[in-house]
């Protein structure tokens, strides 16, 4: 042991999928006890590489070394046994079980009588949590705790299992700034204990604030590995995209017009307590707030995806009652959800079919017979217009990268031709290049007279994209900010309910 300075080396990894070379001679060397960033655009091969590391896929070529020794990882259990632990964006916890049960899943402790030793396990969980300064109650059911807490539980679980290498995939994508700070403290703590962390992220701020070295992947190849001190943000971006990118938010030329949508006194059981909202033609209204503030619930109620307890709505001056998403669509409203894989797409279906689903009527001759030529044309047009990177409109969506999947979701709402579009965290888990394209797309939409409500937890995005920001805290609209009043500090203060706006 300890022969090598590297805790983990993946050398010359190749992976072929039907028609695509996902990884081409990728090499990454991670030093012991460092926090190593892995960055790259969507589709660069990060996820594939990590799936090879945890045994979900097998490499076609190449080798994996742990502390200098060659290992063979055939399946997920091999990876676990070798002390490799992955914390995915999609949580690996079972929502209906308690934190403690999840913690010990697979090897519940027993008392001498063969009964499950709940007390003992809970005490152990408490001990680990205490070490890491968590405040989660081990008895709570996982579905009742928030995303940040779930993540903490996963990290704690990995550590208690003696994980030597922890891979974190976009760990901060659904965390608030406070929670991110806490996560970073935990990462520091782990670094102190010589745990090696592979940190996958799209946020360069994080690379510079927490990581020691960074490896950049591009188009399935490893571009380079650099120490953080040696390079700047622009260097990383250029390595990622192979060209220089304008990091500013795109400007748009349109001014908001007349009010197209209005909601008054919206209430959702236990989540939203009387919110008023107005949206103008050609406007981007940002919805800011901490995770769990009730923004998503508000929007789901507006488009009829969840029951609205109380509230009145007007679209283009006409009073509307919306009890389901079909009625919302008829009133020209649609929502791009945060969980695109769960609620946005049929992953096994083609790009084409995912786009057309919102407006099959438009394709139906005499209302019954689908015109497939027209469908293919429409889908092809959107693929081109939005720059969706796919081998063709028949490609199954599951094979596309996150950013391109998101574009498909947006395309389907463009096809439905709604005027009011709600975007819930539209750039979550999307790389820099694709983000910029989404922003440009948003601008194009509002310039074409559409109106957008954008829920976002990323401050720069809100400030850069929204004409106006409404800040939600605990289900209440704490205030709206525009123009010079719209600053990061002001949004944060309202979101944390620290101060009443003047």
């Amino acid at each position: 042991m300890g022969k090598s300075e590297y805790a983990l080396e993946m050398i010359g990894i190749d992976k072929l999928f039907p028609g695509v070379k996902a990884l081409d001679n990728v090499t990454i060397q991670v030093k012991k006890g460092e926090v190593h960033a892995l960055v790259g655009e969507n589709g660069a091969g990060k996820s594939t590489l990590m799936k090879i590391l945890n045994g979900a896929y097998r490499a076609d070529k190449g080798e994996i070394l742990l502390e200098g020794e060659r290992v063979s990882i055939q399946n997920v259990n091999d990876a676990k046994r070798l002390g490799i632990s992955l914390i995915f964006q999609e949580m690996n916890l079972i929502p209906t079980l308690s934190v403690t049960e999840n913690f010990f899943l697979g090897d519940l402790k027993k008392t001498r009588l063969g009964k499950v030793d709940w007390r003992g396990m809970e005490r152990e969980v408490e001990k680990v949590f205490e070490q890491m300064d968590f405040t989660v109650n081990p008895g709570s059911i996982v579905s009742d705790i928030n995303v940040a807490e779930k993540q903490m539980v996963e990290i704690a679980r990995a550590i208690s299992k003696n994980a030597k290498i922890i891979v974190m995939d976009e760990p901060t994508s659904s965390l608030t700034e406070n929670e991110v700070a806490k996560l970073f403290a935990i990462i520091e703590h782990l670094r102190g204990q010589q745990v090696t962390i592979l940190y996958i992220t799209h946020k360069l701020d994080e690379v510079f604030s927490i990581c020691d070295r960074v490896t950049v992947l591009r188009d399935g190849q490893s571009v380079d590995t650099k120490a953080i001190g040696e390079i700047g943000r622009q260097d990383i971006i250029e390595m990622m995209v192979g060209r220089s990118v304008d990091m500013d938010y795109p400007r748009r030329s349109v001014r908001p017009g007349e009010v197209v949508f209005q909601a008054k006194g919206v209430r959702v059981r236990n989540k939203v307590y009387g919110i008023d909202i107005q949206l103008r033609r050609g406007e981007v209204l940002g919805l800011a707030g901490l995770v769990g503030a009730g923004r998503t619930e508000l929007c789901e109620a507006i488009i009829g995806a969840a029951p609205m307890q109380k509230g009145e709505m007007w679209v283009k001056g006409r009073r509307v009652r919306i009890r389901n998403t079909t009625q919302a669509k008829r009133s020209s409203m649609g929502m791009v959800t945060e969980e695109r894989k769960e609620t946005g797409l049929a992953l096994d279906f083609s790009v084409e079919r995912n786009i057309s689903i919102t407006n099959l009527k438009r394709l139906a001759r005499c209302g019954v017979y689908l015109d497939k030529k027209q469908e293919a044309q429409a889908a092809g047009a959107y693929v081109e217009q939005l720059g969706i990177r796919t081998p063709g409109i028949r490609q199954r969506v599951v094979n596309l990268s996150g950013g391109n999947q998101q574009k498909v979701v947006i395309a389907k709402w463009l096809f439905s031709d709604v005027d009011i579009l709600i975007l819930d965290e539209p750039t979550r888990g999307i790389d820099v290049g694709a983000k910029f394209e989404i922003y440009q797309l948003i601008n194009r939409l509002v310039e074409a007279g559409k109106s957008i409500i954008m829920i976002s937890s990323e401050m720069p995005e809100l400030l850069g994209m929204a004409d106006r920001v409404a800040v939600i805290h605990n289900g209440v609209n704490k205030g709206e900010l525009t123009g010079d009043n719209l600053t990061a500090q002001a949004v944060m203060r309202l979101a944390m309910d620290e101060e009443v706006p003047d």
């Binding site: 999928f17 039907p18 896929y57 097998r58 076609d60 995806a305 389901n324 998403t325 079909t326 919302a328 669509k329 649609g334 929502m335 959800t337 769960e342 609620t343 946005g344 797409l345 049929a346 992953l347 096994d348 279906f349 079919r353 057309s356 689903i357 919102t358 099959l360 009527k361 394709l363 139906a364 209302g367 019954v368 017979y369 689908l370 599951v398 389907k412 439905s416």
Partner: protein
């Protein structure tokens, strides 16, 4: 070499059933001269129509990610209604219409409940299971528990004869295939099966469509009943008992996935034919009932295994 193996596997998953069908026909033809004749083939098709019509109806439900276990009882009830009304009124058209309406009503109740509670597969399993008992009871009560002999000599008596049942079966299959592949409704059904949440968020009328699915299954079951009791000119309050499982087996053997979102009416058609041909071949080969059951069970399991393997192959999980 690698790719050769893979294409072979792919071929097996996609056309395994067709290959199996050809093999059975070839094998049986060697052993018996009567097997591969037009008369025998028509006979097989005619025998398959009742379960076949049920199967194409329930295929639609299964593609949407649901299941309908009540169709067997619906066959019993619809058969009773048809024969009773023909005997009592002498008006065949009215009797058959009432029979089909009864099937539609059972489907509507199923569908309304399942759509109302926004049920998933497990809900439709239990609810249609309950409905199976309810409908079976109604059939028994309505008939007084008696076996009914048809006395009619009108249109209805012709429906089970000659090519008519085969044409009804194939006609329905083509109609449903068109509905599923060419209409917005069909497209929505596939989408609901693949991801019901995404369907809902896309503004698909999930509830209305769900209700409609079960109505289709109910109507098909009652049409199957009309054909069946014409063929035997009789109806028993338990005549459809267990048929729902035969129908679902045909769907599965055809390759429509119980997960929803995948499969099709034509696949079910093939499944029905394969099961029919196999049963007939085994009969001709003098294989008795019990080993036949065994073989049928093995084939259902094999169909599921092939389906799982096929979807793994297409998603690239199986490497090499």
């Amino acid at each position: 070499m690698k790719t050769d193996k893979k294409t072979l596997l792919n071929l097996l998953c996609n056309y395994g059933l067709l290959i199996a069908l050809l093999l059975i026909i070839a094998a049986a033809s060697v052993f018996s001269k009567e097997f591969f004749t037009v008369a025998n083939m028509l006979n097989i098709l005619r025998q398959s129509t009742v379960v076949g019509i049920m199967a194409i109806g329930v295929t639609v439900v299964i593609i949407a990610g649901h299941i309908d276990l009540s169709i067997g009882s619906t066959v019993s009830l619809a058969g009773i209604i048809a024969i009773l009304l023909i005997n009592n009124t002498g008006n065949d058209w009215w009797a058959m219409t009432a029979s089909v309406l009864a099937g539609a009503l059972v489907g509507l109740v199923n569908g309304a409940i399942i759509a109302g509670i926004k049920g998933r597969t497990c809900d439709s399993f239990i609810i249609t299971f309950g409905m199976q008992t309810v409908v079976a009871a109604v059939a028994l009560i309505y008939s007084g528990g008696n076996f009914l002999t048809g006395r009619g000599r009108g249109v209805h008596s012709l429906i089970g004869k000659g090519y008519v049942p085969i044409l009804i079966f194939l006609g329905l299959a083509v109609l449903l295939e068109l509905i599923m592949k060419k209409t917005p409704f069909g497209r929505c059904v596939y989408f609901m099966g693949a991801n019901p949440k995404a369907a809902k968020m896309s503004g698909v009328s999930v509830r209305r469509n769900t209700a409609l699915l079960f109505v289709i299954a109910g109507v098909c079951a009652s049409l199957a009943a009309v054909v069946m009791c014409s063929r035997v000119s009789a109806a028993s309050p338990t005549s459809g008992k267990g048929y729902e499982l035969d129908a679902i087996a045909a769907v599965v053997v055809g390759g429509t996935s119980m997960q929803g979102g995948k499969g099709g009416i034509l696949r079910t058609l093939l499944g029905v034919v394969v099961i029919g041909v196999l049963g007939n071949a085994l009969n001709i080969l003098n294989i008795t009932t019990y080993p036949q059951m065994f073989i049928r069970g093995v084939i259902i399991i094999a169909a599921v295994l092939l389906d799982v393997l096929g979807s793994k192959l297409s998603s690239g999980v199986v490497s090499k």
